[in-house]
């Protein structure tokens, strides 16, 4: 029996010799020939399965205690990219070598396993090799440290930089001393070493079947970061270039070829027809292109307000968004974000109505292009429409930009375009082949065709309500313009009227047609009356003209009284007589406060050529005959209410020609004082233009704003306390800057002037030579 036991001990030692792992080591001199004998012994004893399982238990222990812990010990949290690169490389190397030293054992174990007839899978795999790899993987991952991604990230970052750099290599190499691939000096460039290590490491990871499990998440995160960086670098501030195909190309070439190289150990194409690798790569690509579209669209959505403002220059960017919206699920995000941007950047008192309208028009155009169904437009601009509806100058702004050239000409163009389009409109049939259902976020209450058909002008008209309201406002505007201009461009006005008639219908605009005809008739009548003999002597002094209006067709006029100087009245009487002679049974009712007067004022050595209102002309003519007037005297002679006199006389005060000597007593500023007045002729002319424009002579004016403007008063007092005196424009600018956030207030230059004038009248302000001051206390 003892010999039997000894025999068994010899066998056991031989098995230990062939499988040193049983003693937790790998070193043995056992040759293949020697192993054949030992294999015989194992089979002879019939313990193949027991020995195999024992070896696997010991291998597991060895992996756990030696291989895994030394592998993970290199995964430290470091900020140095190059150090991380080296650490990961050596970790993978060591692991690879450790696995290599297992290979003689694996060969023997394979033979051993083949002699086992239990067909038991080795760690879920059919062959020993795969089973051992699986064991290694499982053991490693069971010990995964918290920050294992840090050095992997460094490793791929360093190598990606080399690849990304290779794409742009030819651009500006000459200027840099540093290689932008590895950040070493060119003479010391490390790029080829990095590429070699990169391929080597990846190949080893693939062989160990560790690549995907170890680096998959890191690579995904990393590439997404790179995509984001790349997009940000590419798409800041430029909207006039489409980036999407460039980005797709970049993903395909730089990113995907880099990724393929990782998976295929250096080759840029999966050379062997390896289904797994192909699958892995194409899955990766799907994920990445979705990220690409998503990141790009989000960036563009954040810029969308600015993109819209410069549309159509930004059409390439809009096209990109349009394409990406179909590939992502960002439609709702887009609506919400753009609506917010419009509200915060546009819909507050600091922005004036024409600017809001311009932005709204741009938005209509850009969003129509982005989403032809009109749903996004409708959703996003709803707050804009609600806001515009509550602004009192909306209609007026729309009407004036409809009929003005220059800055606000977009609408005018639109109007002309409409005229050109109406002819084709009827021929447009439903195109069933290209029919598309409304998007799912469409408001079911709105007819899809209405949404699409609305042109820009009707969208603006609809903001406010009725067509009639628009037409009325246009009439008032036209009336003001015809009366304010001394030279009227009738042809231009007629052209616009024709366009408007196409748009709003003949009957609505009939009144305006008569108004324009009055203007051209007046010219003819003037010419005839100038030839009248009775008129000749009067005309030697100065020429008088008249605008003869058909009262029934003009908007109602503000009723204002004004007693003209006698010589002017004589002129008008003579004019009326001539008119009556010319047109039997008809006579004229003069509106003395309307019209305009060209006067020349010689004061000191200065000559001023001014175009002023009849009131201003009459007033200054009275000061010519008598240099000092009380308000009451002026009231007696001009028949103008005191309050209006006090307000309007500020015009001459602002020119420095008249000053208020004591309360309600006015005196001409003659001679040297007059010369001192700081206004040059040019400035004066400008101020007059404003003066003529600022007040509508039509009765529709709103006079109740003063109360609301009171909000600004404390700001103005503050400004003038600090800065002593300021001109109107400067006050306006400063208010815009500092006080425009006050709720419910906005203030045009004209409004501010009127407001300040009331303060001058109530002696809370002093106006001297165009500068406002606080009165000295």
């Amino acid at each position: 029996m003892a010999s039997k036991r000894e025999e068994l001990e010899i066998y056991w030692n031989k098995i230990n010799y062939a499988y040193p792992i049983l003693n937790d080591t790998l070193f043995t001199d056992c040759s293949d020939a020697e192993y054949e004998d030992i294999q015989q012994i194992i089979v002879g004893l019939g313990v193949q399965i027991k020995i195999r399982d024992l070896i696997l238990v010991h291998t597991e222990k060895y992996f756990r205690q030696h291989v895994a812990s030394s592998f993970w010990s290199k995964f430290i949290k470091t900020d140095e990219e190059v150090k991380g690169f080296q650490l990961f490389k050596s970790a993978v190397n060591d692991l690879y070598e450790a696995m290599a030293s297992f290979s003689p054992m694996i060969t023997r174990l394979t033979i051993l396993n083949n002699s086992c007839c239990d067909n038991k899978p080795i760690y879920g795999e059919r062959d020993v090799m795969s089973g051992i790899k699986q064991l290694l993987r499982a053991t490693l991952l069971s010990q995964l440290p918290l920050d294992f991604q840090v050095i992997i990230n460094h490793f791929y970052k360093v190598s990606f930089n080399v690849f990304d750099n290779a794409e742009y290599e030819n651009s500006d190499m000459g200027e840099d001393v540093m290689c932008s691939g590895c950040w070493n000096e060119y003479s010391d460039c490390n790029c080829s070493y990095i590429v070699k290590v990169f391929h080597d490491t990846n190949r080893k990871l693939v062989e160990l079947t560790l690549l995907e499990r170890l680096t998959g998440q890191v690579l995904t995160n990393f590439i997404q970061q790179r995509i984001e960086l790349h997009i940000q670098k590419l798409c800041t501030g430029t909207f006039d270039v489409s980036h999407i195909s460039f980005l797709e190309n970049w993903l395909d070439t730089t990113v995907m070829s880099w990724l393929t190289r990782i998976y295929c150990a250096g080759s840029s194409k999966p050379h062997r027809v390896d289904k797994d690798i192909q699958n892995a790569v194409s899955k990766f690509k799907q994920k990445l292109s979705y990220s690409l579209y998503h990141i790009y669209t989000k960036l563009r959505i954040d810029q969308l307000f600015n993109i819209i403002i410069v549309y159509p220059d930004s059409q390439p960017a809009v096209d990109d968004i349009k394409l990406c919206l179909d590939k992502t699920d960002l439609r709702a995000t887009l609506c919400k974000k753009l609506q917010n941007a419009l509200e915060t950047r546009l819909l507050h008192p600091g922005v004036n109505t024409p600017d809001i309208l311009t932005a709204y028009i741009s938005a209509i155009r850009a969003l129509r292009h982005l989403d032809p169904s009109g749903v996004i437009l409708e959703t996003v601009t709803k707050p804009v429409r609600n806001y515009l509806r509550n602004r009192e100058d909306t209609v007026r702004s729309v009407v004036s930009s409809l009929t003005e050239e220059g800055a606000g000409s977009e609408l005018a163009e639109e109007l002309a375009k409409f005229a050109a389009e109406t002819d084709d409109e009827l021929e447009k049939e439903e195109d069933w082949d290209n029919w598309m259902p409304d998007p799912k976020d469409a408001d079911p209450k709105v007819n899809g065709n209405d949404r699409k058909a609305n042109d820009i002008i009707s969208m603006l008209v609809n903001v406010y309500g009725s067509k009639e309201l628009f037409v009325n406002e246009y009439r008032t505007l036209l009336a003001d313009r015809l009366l304010a201009q001394s030279v009227i461009n009738t042809e231009k006005e007629i052209r616009y009227l024709e366009l408007l008639k196409l748009r709003f219908g003949e009957s609505q605009l009939h009144f305006c047609e008569v108004m324009l005809k009055d203007v051209s008739d007046s010219k003819r009548i003037n010419a005839l009356i100038q030839q009248d003999k009775n008129f000749e002597s009067l005309n030697n002094k100065f020429s008088s003209n008249a605008m003869i209006l058909s009262a029934q067709f003009w908007p109602p006029f503000k009723d204002e009284s004004l007693e003209l100087p006698d010589e002017i009245k004589q002129h008008f009487e003579a004019y009326t007589k001539s008119y009556e002679a010319l047109k039997g049974n008809r006579t004229l009712n003069w509106k003395p406060h309307l019209g305009n007067v060209n006067i020349e004022i010689e004061i000191g050595e200065k000559k001023l050529d001014l175009t002023v209102s009849p009131f201003n002309a009459t007033l200054i003519m009275h000061f010519q005959t008598k240099p000092e007037w009380s308000l009451e005297e002026l009231h007696q002679i001009m028949k103008v209410p005191l309050i209006i006199l006090r307000r309007k006389i500020t015009y001459w005060q602002s020119l420095g020609i008249i000053s208020e000597k004591s309360t309600d007593n006015y005196v001409l500023v003659e001679g040297s004082d007059g010369n001192k007045s700081s206004c040059s002729t040019n400035q004066v002319q400008e101020m007059i233009c404003e003066d003529e424009e600022s007040e509508s002579v039509m009765a529709s004016a709103h006079d109740q704003r003063e109360g609301e403007l009171q909000v600004f008063w404390s700001y103005i007092v503050g400004m003038l306390t600090n800065l002593d005196s300021l001109p109107l424009e400067r006050i306006h600018q400063m208010l815009k800057m500092f006080a425009s956030q006050a709720p419910g207030t906005e203030c045009s230059l004209q409004e501010l002037r009127q407001f300040l004038d009331t303060k001058v009248r109530t002696h809370q302000l002093v106006l001297q030579a165009g500068m406002y001051k606080l009165p000295k206390t």
């Binding site: 009366l483 001394s486 009939h510 047609e513 008569v514 005809k517 008739d521 002094k541 100065f542 020429s543 008088s544 003209n545 008249a546 605008m547 003869i548 209006l549 058909s550 009262a551 029934q552 067709f553 003009w554 002017i568 002129h571 008008f572 004019y575 009326t576 008119y579 047109k583 049974n585 008809r586 006579t587 004229l588 009712n589 003069w590 509106k591 003395p592 309307l594 019209g595 305009n596 007067v597 060209n598 006067i599 020349e600 004022i601 010689e602 004061i603 009849p614 002309a617 200054i620 003519m621 000061f623 010519q624 240099p627 020609i657 001409l668 003659e670 007059g674």
Partner: protein, 84 residues
């Protein structure tokens, strides 16, 4: 100081010199035009009858055409044009 007026453009409205404001036939103001016209004044003038009533010319002509007797619609006197 010397003020020289170089030109003065005034504004006036024209009206018919008539003893009523509205046309007795179409009820429109005389200073407007009859329902068939678009432009007032020269294009839609007034005419006076011997009875001193006046109408838009188009209104009275239409009226006289529709009536068997040529009478002023206001006073029923025989209508005669008065070229005053």
């Amino acid at each position: 100081m010397k003020v020289t007026v170089k030109s003065w453009t005034g504004v006036a409205t024209w009206r018919w010199i008539a003893n009523d404001d509205n046309c007795g036939i179409c009820r429109m103001p005389f200073d407007s035009c009859c329902p068939d016209c678009k432009l007032p004044g020269d294009d839609c003038p007034l005419v006076w009858g011997a009875c001193s009533h006046c109408f838009h010319i188009h209104c009275i002509v239409k009226w006289l055409h529709s009536q068997p007797q040529q009478q002023c619609p206001m006073c029923r006197q025989d209508w005669k044009f008065n070229n005053k």
